[in-house]
């Protein structure tokens, strides 16, 4: 099957007829409901760009399984060059959408599962790797969109899966038979899942022997029997449901990815789609691989998003007549500096990637975690600077209906005007874009997406090579190594 374009992707969602709820209602046609259009548009763009001569070099790759041209979003990284191209592609697309285009989670899940199943088979003699390759080939050949389903509800964060009062707080295997397994539980914060074809379930954390039923990795269609998706609210989401496009800020692509709570009510998964079932010793490795790949992304996509925020902020400064003020220029410089620092980290962890036993390439995990840690701070600072320069109107503007109103429209027009020559409507549009991209849901993604800051700090400490640093210091301080046998 050839690479899908945006139209074919949209059409492929129609027959899924997923079980989706939003605003207390069952959604009959996700593909056409206005609430989901921005997210579908963003995902559709990833399909479009694979056909655009200007962008296909980044957005497509050659399958190592079939030798055919595939979407890079379904590719297993075969070199550091692939890892670098991943980051560049994410920056490219985020620079077009200004929001999350959702496909990296499933992609990272596939790359992590690929290398971990190989290593698991080597040590335990299981047969997961070939199964996973078959699944991967199916995804590549049909150019499908896959949600990466890792985060469990977790209930009491202080307790392990097996010790939870409610055993469904982590996804677990509740039955097995000759044909497959039955899983129960839920995954939360599922990006893009209501417009994905498949989901790849992974454990959320390292596990011990008592958690054996929770050590499960498997793939299932998003419309499998027993799956219910309850769509999450986002800042200002009701602005999509009528009243023009200005107030939405980014009417075409929305905010973040469109997340859902995905309930798995005794869902059957055939064995050929099960890639871990009880091998609790490998849950931690799978989480670490996935998390590092996923953290690598953030200096790519957030750099692309920040490119737009910087552009919008610069435009606001011009519309407000302060673009030449030295403090404004300096703030814009700072925003660029923060953005490029994030990008540096993502490029660096890709350049320092290394081959895994499966042949797939993995990022430098220390640097990847460092990038994501920076994202939890720098994006907030970029947003803060943008708020500073753009002015208070981003929080107080009247609605588009007021701008168009017969009686009061003229006042909105008059009193929200900035420099001469720039129509008030343009200033309002740009201010709304800043509002959309720098507040609420958009910011929280930078904090918790791909793991909360502490999750990165744990991995940073583990990779920090502190022993070597102490040795270097002792050398300079003139401290001799003591013979440990004495």
């Amino acid at each position: 099957m050839p690479l899908k374009d945006g139209k074919a992707y949209r059409e492929s969602l129609q027959p899924l007829k997923m079980n989706v709820y939003a605003f207390g209602e069952k959604i009959e046609n996700v593909a056409e409901h206005p609430l989901f259009q921005p997210h579908i548009n963003a995902a559709a763009l990833t399909y479009e760009l694979a056909h655009d001569p200007l962008t296909e070099d980044l957005v497509t790759a050659t399958s190592h399984l079939t030798g055919l041209k595939i979407s890079r979003f379904t590719h297993i990284h075969q070199s550091t060059d692939d890892l670098i191209k991943k980051v560049k592609m994410l920056r490219l697309i985020a620079g077009r959408t200004g929001s999350c285009f959702q496909r990296c989670v499933g992609w990272d899940a596939m790359n992590a599962t690929y290398s971990v199943t190989y290593e698991m088979d080597q040590e335990l003699g299981t047969g997961y790797f070939q199964r996973f390759r078959n699944f991967l080939q199916y995804i590549q050949e049909n150019d499908l969109m896959l949600a990466g389903a890792m985060t469990d509800p977790k209930g009491d964060r202080g307790l392990s899966p097996a010790k939870q009062v409610d055993p469904d707080m982590f996804v677990r295997v509740v039955a097995k038979n000759e044909a497959g397994i039955v899983i129960r539980g839920a995954k939360v914060h599922q990006t893009g899942i209501i417009n994905s074809h498949e989901m790849l379930i992974m454990p959320t954390m390292a596990m011990a022997e008592e958690d054996v039923d929770y050590a499960v990795c498997c793939a299932l269609p998003t419309n499998a029997p027993g799956v219910i998706h309850i769509f999450g609210r986002q800042t200002n989401d009701e602005r999509r449901l009528g009243g023009g496009d200005i107030d939405q800020g980014n009417a075409r692509y929305g905010t973040v990815g469109g997340e859902a709570l995905t309930v798995l009510n005794d869902v059957f998964v055939p064995w050929e789609r099960v890639f871990m079932c009880g091998e609790y010793q490998y849950a931690g490795l799978l989480v670490e691989r996935f998390a590092s790949y996923h953290r690598q992304n953030y200096g790519g996509c957030k750099a692309g998003v920040s490119d737009i925020i910087i552009g919008a902020t610069t435009a606001m400064a011009e519309y407000n007549g302060v673009a030449k003020a030295s403090h404004v220029r300096d703030k814009v410089v700072e925003m660029v500096h923060l953005t490029e620092t994030l990008y540096c980290g993502s490029i660096a962890c890709s350049c320092e990637g290394a081959v895994t036993p499966s042949g797939a390439f993995f990022v430098n995990p220390l640097l990847a975690n460092t990038v994501k840690q920076n994202v939890t701070r720098f994006i907030y600072e970029i947003a803060r600077l943008s708020h500073d320069v753009s002015g208070g109107c981003i929080a107080t503007l009247p609605s588009e209906q007021d701008l168009r109103h017969d009686e009061v429209g003229k006042y909105v027009e008059k009193y929200f005007k900035g420099v001469d020559g720039v129509p008030t409507e343009e200033r309002m549009r740009m201010a709304r874009l800043v509002e959309n991209m720098t507040g609420g849901t958009a910011l929280v993604e930078s904090m918790h997406g791909a793991g909360s800051p502490q999750a990165q700090r744990v991995m940073i400490l583990r990779q920090a090579n502190l022993g070597h640093k102490v040795k270097l210091a002792k050398e300079l301080a003139g401290i001799k190594e003591r013979d440990s046998k004495k």
Binding site: P53, T55, E56, D57, L58, K85, K88, R91, L92, D307
Partner: protein, 101 residues
């Protein structure tokens, strides 16, 4: 006269200093002896590589003929003012085809 078929390969344009698409469109308007086509075209006479910045990370397709190379504002390695890039592309193609501009 037979037209020159030039296959164009763009880099991906993640953070471009130059819009390669615009440059090639402008170049196409300058000389009607040149056909700019996809790099996948089986009958290419020349290949035009267009990178949006000097990093020039584009993957080179296997091609044994003449290659014109744009990377940021460098055309065949020579720094070129932005408005002159389309003209420089055309001149390079014609020169490689043995035609006086």
């Amino acid at each position: 006269m037979r037209r020159i078929r030039v296959g164009v390969k763009f880099c991906g344009h993640c953070n471009p200093l130059l819009d390669g698409g615009e440059m090639v469109t402008a170049a196409a308007l300058l000389d009607d002896r040149i056909d700019f086509v996809s790099w996948l075209d089986p009958e290419l006479q020349q290949l035009l590589i267009v990178s949006g910045c000097p990093i020039d990370c584009v993957e080179r397709p296997p091609f044994t003929g003449e290659v014109v190379h744009v990377a940021g504002q460098r055309v065949d390695g020579k720094m070129t003012p932005l408005p002159e890039v389309p003209d420089a592309i055309v001149r390079s193609i014609l020169r490689r085809a043995g035609i006086q501009g």
